[in-house]
């Protein structure tokens, strides 16, 4: 290596370090906060590595029986909203791609532009009339606002790139459209479905605005539960940070494990829910 190349190499690593450190330092600090007792969290100058580690913060959060309720709520809401979105969205993406009905994507764009709160006002009234407030149903339905456009958008893009030849051959052999979809198109589309699934799960799991309006005491999802901890528990940072980390941990894990799919999905659709 010439000196010039070595300098270039050092420069590159230095820039990598600079651009990645805000993310790394933030999450390390989050972990540090969550593992410290109050004494250390209130210390100035701040302590990064505490002498005693407060595993208790995590134990406290996990042990409260409310937490289990909220975790279950989040699982049910995100799980149902994602599953329903896949059931209606994957065939829709297929149909739209095959009909080349690109104008219909305008609806998805409108959904993308609309602030989440605008859905909340009419749907809140609707759920009130139907007497559904107090159950998880309103949240499952309104999370479809997030998940359905993501799934349709990604599936349109995906089905447009899958080859038509196999499908045409199957049609000529006398298969019905449904059979072609079920046995030819769907198996090829598995990677696309995985991308749609991952992004729908993440953006539904993270959603906050729908929960603060529609969730009651028993029907809170995790982000809403954590938000309520802020208002009641301002001073104990340790357990708060631990709760925050537990809430976002599944998503972070998914991000690192499935970063390839996530990057593909985000750059293709550039969708974000809410």
């Amino acid at each position: 290596m010439t000196p010039r190349q070595i300098i270039g190499k050092i420069g590159l690593w230095l820039s990598v370090f600079v651009i990645v450190s805000p993310a790394i330092l933030f999450f390390l600090w989050m972990i540090s906060l969550s593992l410290k007792f109050e004494v250390d969290n209130a210390a100035y100058p701040p302590v990064f590595f505490p002498d005693r580690i407060a595993w208790k913060n995590y134990a406290d959060v996990l042990a409260s029986n409310r937490f289990l309720t909220y975790f279950t709520n989040s699982l049910i809401v995100t799980g149902s909203a994602t599953l329903l979105a896949l059931i209606v969205g994957v065939p829709a993406g297929y149909g739209i791609a095959r009909m080349a009905a690109h104008k219909s994507a305008i609806v998805i764009l409108i959904a993308r532009i609309t602030p989440g709160l605008s859905y909340l006002i009419p749907l809140f009234l609707l759920f009130q009339w139907l007497g559904l407030l107090g159950t998880l149903v309103p949240q499952i339905i309104i999370h479809l606002v997030v998940t359905v456009p993501i799934v349709i958008w990604i599936m349109i893009g995906y089905f447009e790139t899958t080859p038509m030849e196999l499908e045409e051959a199957a049609l000529i052999d006398g298969a019905g459209r449904w059979q072609v979809f079920r046995h030819v198109a769907l198996p090829i589309a598995k990677p696309g479905i995985a991308v749609a699934f991952i992004l729908a799960v993440i953006f539904s799991w993270n959603n906050f605005v729908f929960g603060i309006v529609l969730a009651g005491r028993e029907t809170r999802t995790l982000p809403v539960a954590v938000y309520n901890m802020i208002s009641f528990d301002q001073l104990s940072w340790g357990p708060l940070a631990a709760a925050a980390l537990i809430v976002t941990f599944p998503v972070l894990l998914l991000t690192v494990l499935a970063q390839r799919q996530i990057v593909a999905g985000l750059t293709a659709g550039a969708v974000k829910g809410g």
Binding site: L12, I19, P22, A23, F27, W29, L33, N41, A42, Y44, P45, P46, V88, P91, A92, Y94, G95, R98, M99, A100, H102, A105, I113, T114, P115, S118, I121, P122, L125, L144, V145, V148, I152, G157, E160, T161, R177, W205, N206, F208, V213, P223, V226, Y227, A241, A244, L245, V247, T248, V251, T255, V256, Q259, R260, V263, T267, A268, G269, A270, K272
Partner: protein, 312 residues
């Protein structure tokens, strides 16, 4: 790169996408279930919102049709006008900073280095993390006495700031969080653009002895412009609508110093339960976003024409 990233610049330039031969409408059954869902959760709320905005509609009292008076009320509502101002400042900063930093990061991530995939995964963690959870940690970091940010500032000799606890610094502080969170998205989009650039211009530039900056300014930048534009558009739409971070950190405070349209909309609709007025805000808010998008499209067209006029 497909869908939005591909179709938008194409649509901006011409509508001449090769039309596939029309298929018989037998694909409709695939679309119908989604159509029902979209009608129920997207179209219906929209129609109903417009109808509500024409009524005096408060929870617990009878509704009366009032025509456009909710909209007229907006024009003389100082809190709304102030919120529009906050939203615009917040948006401009939250588009510009991630665009600059995201482009620089993309140039770095475009290089080859070991662990690139993993580090890219780490880099995008801020935008995938649960916003409320990270807002909570930022709130602790902003704490004037115990927060780590003031400690870091003190290390380099900068006096302690009040961050989100002072009207003058609250919006820049929130923009800091928004920039930290969304720079990765810009990076990803631009990175996709860089991957699509042919290598020939770089080779000839190297032969001509162009500097790194010249290469970036005269080759890379023009070629990734379409991607920057899309990133800017998406960033604008998200920044205008930003809710979770602002709501969880300041709830629009101190006072109303960080109250954006979306936060004000929340107060009107779900604190005061003034649903008619809230609906009018929602409609105007949506139109404002469409207007901003149109302005950006127009600016982009103008730029293209000037490029063609001066280049050819």
């Amino acid at each position: 790169m497909s869908a939005l990233t591909q179709s938008t610049p194409a649509a901006a330039q011409s509508d001449a996408a090769p039309e596939k031969e029309l298929r018989p409408p037998s694909y409709w059954p695939f679309v119908v279930p989604a159509l029902v869902v979209v009608l129920a959760i997207i179209i219906f709320p929209w129609v109903f919102t417009i109808w509500m905005s024409l009524n005096e509609w408060k929870v617990g009292s009878p509704t009366t049709f009032v025509g456009f008076s909710n909209y007229l009320r907006l024009t003389s509502d100082p809190r709304f006008l102030e919120a529009v101002g906050h939203t615009l400042v917040y948006t401009v900063l939250s588009v510009a900073l991630p665009l600059i930093l995201g482009t620089l990061s993309a140039v770095v991530f475009h290089q080859n280095f070991s662990g690139r995939g993993f580090l890219r995964g780490v880099f995008i963690m801020p935008m995938m993390a649960t916003p409320v959870a990270i807002a909570l940690v930022w709130t602790m970091m902003f704490h004037p006495q115990l927060g780590v940010l003031n400690y870091l500032l003190s290390l380099v000799g900068i006096p302690a700031q009040l961050w989100v606890f002072h009207p003058a610094t609250v919006i820049p502080s929130l923009v800091l969080v928004e920039t930290w969170q969304w720079t990765p998205l810009v990076m990803l989009i631009v990175l996709g653009g860089l991957a699509a650039i042919p290598t020939e211009p770089y080779e000839s530039a190297q032969i001509d002895g162009a500097s790194f900056w010249q290469v970036f300014r005269f080759i890379t930048l023009p070629l990734i412009m379409p991607f920057l534009f899309i990133a800017g558009m998406i960033r604008m739409i998200d920044a205008v609508k930003s809710f979770d971070i602002i709501f969880a950190i300041t709830q629009g405070g101190p006072g109303s110093a960080s109250e954006t349209i979306n936060i004000y909309l929340y107060s009107v609709a779900f604190t005061y339960y003034d649903l008619g007025y809230g609906s009018a805000i929602a409609v105007v808010f949506f139109l404002l976003i469409v207007l901003l998008a149109a302005v950006m499209l127009y600016a982009r067209q103008r730029m293209l024409w000037t490029e063609i006029a001066s280049g050819a």
